[in-house]
Amino acid sequence: MRSLVATYGRGLTALFCGLALIWLLGLIVLPQLFMLERSLWWQEQPAEAFALTKRIDDLYNEVSLLEFDRRAAEGEEVAQLEARIAAKRAEIAELEAVEVAPVRVYGLANYVKMSGLHFWIFVKTIFYAMLVTLLALVVCYPIAFAAAQLASPANAALLLLGLVVPYAINELLRVYAWLMILDYQGVINSFLAWLGLVDFEKRTWVPFLEYPGAVFVAMVYAYVLFMVFPMYNTMETLDRNQLEAARDLGASTWRTHWRVVIPHARPGIAVGCIMTFMLSAGSFAVPQIISRGTGGDWFSQLIYRQFFESFNWNVGAAYAFTLLLACIVFIFLVMRLAGVGIRDIAK
């Protein structure tokens, strides 16, 4: 900090610190804390208070009924009805004076109350996200290796450009492209129909979209880049002579990868896995577009519904925090397994 003041003076340093503080507190820490706080309470009315509220509602209904009668009434009935209305109104006023607003109750109920089904969806989502990560790792490893070690510089640049181009197209549109391929009357089913294997008239098409595999394919497709690039960056720094040496000393291809390439690329592999897992566990767009409610929910869709369909923000916040915890645990686990620090992540 002293060197900052020495170079830029007090005024600028204060400005930098102020900006960083606004970002740190206003955009990162406080939102998370408020989300945590929100997940820890719910609104509740004590049982007797609930009865009271019900009684007040009933009275209001009776009053409106009586007023309706009064408008039709004639002669002495009017006075009679008005007296009854006044009596009811008095009772309402009396009860409302002692009525209590719903109180906030703090506790873990929003977490504990998660139903069996929702918990199952949570476990499934985490499991699927891991599977997507593993799949992406297997799919991308050869590509990253080829681009980093085997290809000539010009070819490598072309390879990387080819990887980036699909990524400039929006995630939703990328997934949408897969929807068109896997749909009931999509490209694959049309091909099968052409072969005479399925019949659209009889609706015997293969319901790809209802299989979890459809989401996997689209997700791997959507997040491939986040796996390839970190791996490519670390593999590129590997000296090619090491590969030659391993080969000259008689190591098989597998052994070379296992003992030379993978240990060297470990930080990149870890970062790729972390990014892919985080993106797929929190992915809202992919399952929403692909499954459209037919293939079972992912946890992210559940969270969305808590907020915008059941309007239960407290439970939604609890679910969101659960997902965040799962991601944090995964990140630390991978960092531990790969023996890399937080500093390695940001390359």
Partner: protein
């Protein structure tokens, strides 16, 4: 020196794999683009009713999508205005701070990149709801900035680590004011990174869906509007947007390649 047959096989398999992989990458885009020219009311390539450009016209008349694009651009401007200064401030502090809190501070400032987007959106929504601000363009802007600022910070840090600090010291010794050092030495040194950070921030902001969909409230951006069309009926207009994205990307990629090649030729000479 001929490679042993085993290795040649290995390379053939790998090359085949690369080809398959790129088919996997590009075939879906081709299918999507083709459907934009199909004269059929549902997006499809298998039920071909002839070539048409009518969906381009429909897009030109689609007011909601146009408004969405304008909103996306507004948000992106806001995001750049917030993220660049914050990211730069964070980077300057982290590269200079010699304290045991450095690691923790770094961890917190990088954490939004590692946080699922929906959670960034949700937490921002909850915080600002308490302050009485409902979802909308402003919140989308704030929510996106939290993680885009982290990307900017990483870019600035990478650049600052290569900075020659003696230049600044020399300027100070020669009597430059602090402000002048920042304006005449630090900022010019960072200019290329500022441009890169602005472009990356812009793209990230335009592309974003997961965070925005929670923070946008009753407003919409181009991407959230596309997202809601998936629920309420799709027409090939969406494919037209895809085609436009593809064309813009390819044009940019070609320009980039040409520029790079020219640059290389210049350095060779």
């Amino acid at each position: 020196m001929a490679a042993p047959p085993e290795r040649r096989w290995g390379e053939a398999v790998l090359n085949l794999y690369i080809v398959v992989f790129f088919v996997y990458l590009f075939a879906p885009l081709l299918v999507m683009s083709l459907a934009a020219f199909n004269d059929f009311q549902y997006p499809s390539v298998t039920q071909w009713r002839g070539w048409t450009l009518r969906w381009f016209g429909e897009l030109a008349r689609d007011v909601r999508l146009q408004q969405g694009l304008i909103n996306s651009l507004l948000i992106a401007m806001g995001v750049i205005a917030i993220s660049l200064p914050c990211g730069l401030a964070g980077a300057l502090i982290l590269t200079r701070l010699e304290s045991r809190w450095n690691g923790l501070l770094y961890g917190i400032l990088v954490s939004p990149i590692l946080t699922p987007g929906i959670i960034l959106g949700i937490s921002t929504l909850i915080l600002w709801r308490n302050l009485g601000v409902p979802g909308g363009l402003f919140l989308a802007c704030v929510a996106q900035s939290s993680f885009i600022a982290s990307y900017c910070m990483l870019l600035f840090m990478a650049r600052l680590q290569r900075q020659d600090r003696t230049l600044e010291d020399a300027a100070l010794d020669l009597g430059a004011s602090n402000l002048m050092v920042f304006r005449r030495i630090t900022l010019p040194f960072l200019t290329p990174t500022i441009a890169t950070a602005a472009v990356i921030g812009f793209l990230q902001s335009i592309e974003n869906y997961n965070t925005t969909v929670f923070a946008i409230g009753g407003q919409w951006t181009l991407v959230t509007e596309i997202g809601s069309r998936f629920r309420f009926g799709l027409t090939p207009v969406i494919n037209v947007i895809g085609v436009i994205f593809v064309v813009i990307t390819i044009v940019c990629a070609v320009i980039w390649t040409v520029l790079r090649q020219r640059e290389r030729q210049m350095t060779i000479r």
